[in-house]
């Protein structure tokens, strides 16, 4: 198994695990904050709606002594109710109001007034009677789950609600979870790939280059520049290997020079030499018979100096005591 595969396999679970842990933690923090954020959003919207629209209209009537003029009050209440549609609410969110007796007044969405009364009537009565405990929270009734905020506007005896479906909150939580999982998977894959590419570029590739260079050196060939210029340990190794290759090349060149020099200085005869059994001439490559001394002289560095051996002296110059053995 190649080293890059080993590193990849080792890193992948680590990265995946880290991201999953981080993702799980984020999901936990986010989903637990959704309820709180939703309520805060509802309270903010509701406060603004009451202050700006409902109370604003009422104050205008009071300032102009019109708060007892039924036509004006009804018209301004109608305008205040219609202005609830101007707010950007959550998808399943709606602003509605019931009077202090729990009777339906208006709703920003088309709903069945009786359903609103049956679901929220008791809450409206409690809030109108001064209960602050029910000003915000969750409602579980008649297969309905809702999160809500409420305010009581005493001058008009309106209990104004901003409610949103609990399913919508859960859907939001689920969508955050799904998104977190997708992000974790994507992040893990991306991180792993990134690490893999980094390791490949800065570790595996240089090692492969060094390996190739070493093979080339082993085959006795030149390697040139290994092309690793990093200032790390691998870079140092590469530069040392280049120096080593150059030294080997240098020694080899010197060896060749010496060899040639030796070859030039020492000529040796080798192989099978055909020689006449009688006259001792030697046949050369061209088929000519040569005196043995001229043949050797021609094919080696040896030189001949002629003399007479003892046996030949006795044979050919028996009268001459060339070796002086007569004295004995």
């Amino acid at each position: 198994m190649k080293i890059q595969i080993k590193i990849g396999l080792a890193l992948f679970p680590l990265v995946l695990l880290s991201i999953i842990i981080l993702g799980a933690w984020s999901v936990h923090i986010t989903t637990t904050g959704i309820d709180k954020s939703a309520l805060q959003h509802m309270n903010t919207i509701l406060d603004y709606y009451i202050d700006d629209k409902i109370s604003g209209m009422h104050q205008l009537l009071v300032r102009n002594l019109l708060d007892k003029e039924e036509s004006f009050v009804k018209d301004y209440q109608q305008l205040a109710a219609e202005s609830a549609n101007e707010f950007k609410l959550t998808k399943a969110g709606h602003i509605f109001a019931l009077d202090a007796e729990g009777k339906f007044v208006f709703c920003s969405k088309k709903v069945d007034p009786q359903l609103i009364e049956s679901l929220w009537g008791d809450h409206a009565l409690s809030i109108a009677n001064g209960s602050t405990a029910k000003l915000t929270g969750h409602l579980h009734a008649l297969n309905t789950r809702a999160i809500y905020a409420a305010r009581y506007f005493q001058p008009w005896k309106w209990v104004v609600f901003y409610a949103s479906s609990g399913d919508e909150i859960r859907a939001a939580q689920q969508s955050i979870k799904n998104a977190a999982i997708l992000i974790a998977i994507f992040s893990a894959a991306a991180s792993w790939l990134l690490l893999f590419l980094v390791i490949r570029k800065y570790l595996i590739k240089p090692i492969q280059s060094l390996q190739k260079a070493a093979s080339t050196i082993a085959e006795g060939e030149t390697i040139g520049d290994i092309n690793i210029h990093s200032q790390d340990e691998i870079g140092d190794l590469s530069r040392n290997m280049e120096l080593m290759a150059k030294a080997i090349q240098k020694h080899r060149a010197e060896q060749i020079i010496w060899q040639k020099k030796l070859e030039k200085e020492v000529k040796t005869l080798g192989g099978l030499l055909p020689i006449c059994s009688y006259c001792k001439k030697i046949r050369d490559d061209r088929g000519y018979w040569n005196q043995i001394e001229s043949f050797i002289q021609a094919n080696s560095e040896a030189e001949f100096s002629h003399g007479i051996c003892q046996d030949c002296a006795e044979k050919y110059y028996p009268d001459m005591d060339l070796y002086g053995d007569d004295e004995t």
């Binding site: 604003g56 205008l60 102009n64 019109l66 003029e69 036509s71 004006f72 305008l79």
Partner: protein, 346 residues
């Protein structure tokens, strides 16, 4: 020794006299000579004149110190305005002539044409029709500039329509308007009729009477107005007061209220609404007077009036009579009620 000093005394006296004379001349040149011409003694003109002078004082121009302010009263007569101004010009050129309302402005423009004496007009509802300038919201390039005294008529009519359309069932809604031949009144009617024609849901039923100089001619014009009321009664759904001196007078409002059962829905002044007209939308007199004084100050400091844009006032007043609205079973929309602010009357 004594004799010698006696001999040099005339020279010393001459030098002292020369220094005093030059100093007086320098002081005199710092005193700005301004002529203010009021067209007629109607409340809007009087108030405009007052706030103009208040602002000038706040800007540091004090009468008999650095300001010689001459106020001419034309009593509603253009010829008188010309005569009075001519007499003043004979005594030397002023640094600035300021005119309030159309007739005085027209008179001054005629006399100052071709001179380099700056003319600053205000409380002129239609200076283009009056021949003072060629266009609004543009510099004149002449020695004349000023402030337009009108509120955007389209906006005004739209606000009025929001109210009257609540109770008037048929279309077009008919507005009776008895007006004089005073230039700004004629211009106003022309503009209103153009708007009515474009909209199609309203129409103006005018009744024209001859303009007579105010204040002396006002009773005669009110008599003519009464004839107009009788002539239009039953033929109109509501009354609208015209711009100009006739609409400005409280006698006009009183005459309609006494002789007609048809309500006045658009007054030409705050006083009409206080007396029972449904609403008025008019330029803010104090702001208009002060803005004009600021322009006057700039001109006195050397600014070329020809480079100053002729613009409508920046502020306006909306007044509403709630009692009338309730009587007519109208609901004043909250936006309008907010805009009216403290000008909501009962």
């Amino acid at each position: 020794m004594k004799l010698k000093s006696m001999q040099t005394m005339p020279l010393q006296l001459f030098l002292i006299t020369l220094i005093i004379g030059l100093t007086s001349l320098a002081v005199a040149s710092d005193v700005k000579k301004v002529i203010l011409i009021e067209t007629m003694p109607v409340p809007a003109v009087i108030e405009h004149s007052r706030w103009f002078q208040v602002q000038l004082k706040e800007l540091g121009y004090e009468k008999n110190k650095n300001l010689k302010l001459t106020i001419l009263k034309a009593n509603g007569e253009r010829q008188l305005a010309e005569k009075l101004l001519n007499a003043e010009l004979a005594g030397g050129n002023p640094d600035l002539v300021v005119t309030i309302a159309t007739l005085a402005s027209q008179a001054a423009a005629k006399l100052l044409k071709g001179t380099d004496i700056p003319l600053l007009f205000f409380q002129v509802s239609n200076p283009v029709d009056a021949g003072l300038v060629k266009q609004i919201n543009a510099p004149t390039g002449t020695n004349i500039t000023g402030k337009v005294y009108t509120v955007n008529r389209n906006a005004k009519i739209e606000m009025l329509f929001q109210l009257v359309s609540q109770i008037a069932v048929h279309r077009p809604i008919r507005f009776g308007i008895i007006h004089s031949t005073y230039p700004s009144s004629m211009g106003d009617i022309r503009e209103l009729e153009m708007i009515a024609k474009r909209r199609g849901d309203i129409t103006f039923v005018p009744y024209k009477i001859e303009y007579k100089k105010v204040p002396t001619g006002l009773p005669a014009m009110i008599e003519d107005t009464k004839k107009g009321i009788k002539a239009l009664e039953g033929k109109v759904d509501f009354w609208v007061e015209p711009l100009g001196p006739l609409g400005e007078s409280f006698e006009y409002t009183q005459a309609i209220m006494e002789l007609s059962t048809t309500p006045i829905v658009l007054g030409a002044k705050a006083d009409s609404v206080k007396r029972g007209a449904l609403m008025h939308v008019t330029p803010h007199i104090e702001a208009s007077g002060r803005e004009t004084a600021l322009l006057a100050s700039q001109i006195l400091e050397g600014k070329d009036p020809g480079t100053i844009l002729v613009t409508p006032p920046l502020n306006f007043d909306l007044g509403i009579n709630i009692t009338t609205a309730l009587k007519l079973k109208m609901i004043i929309p909250p936006d309008m009620l907010k805009l009216a602010g403290n000008h909501v009357y009962r």
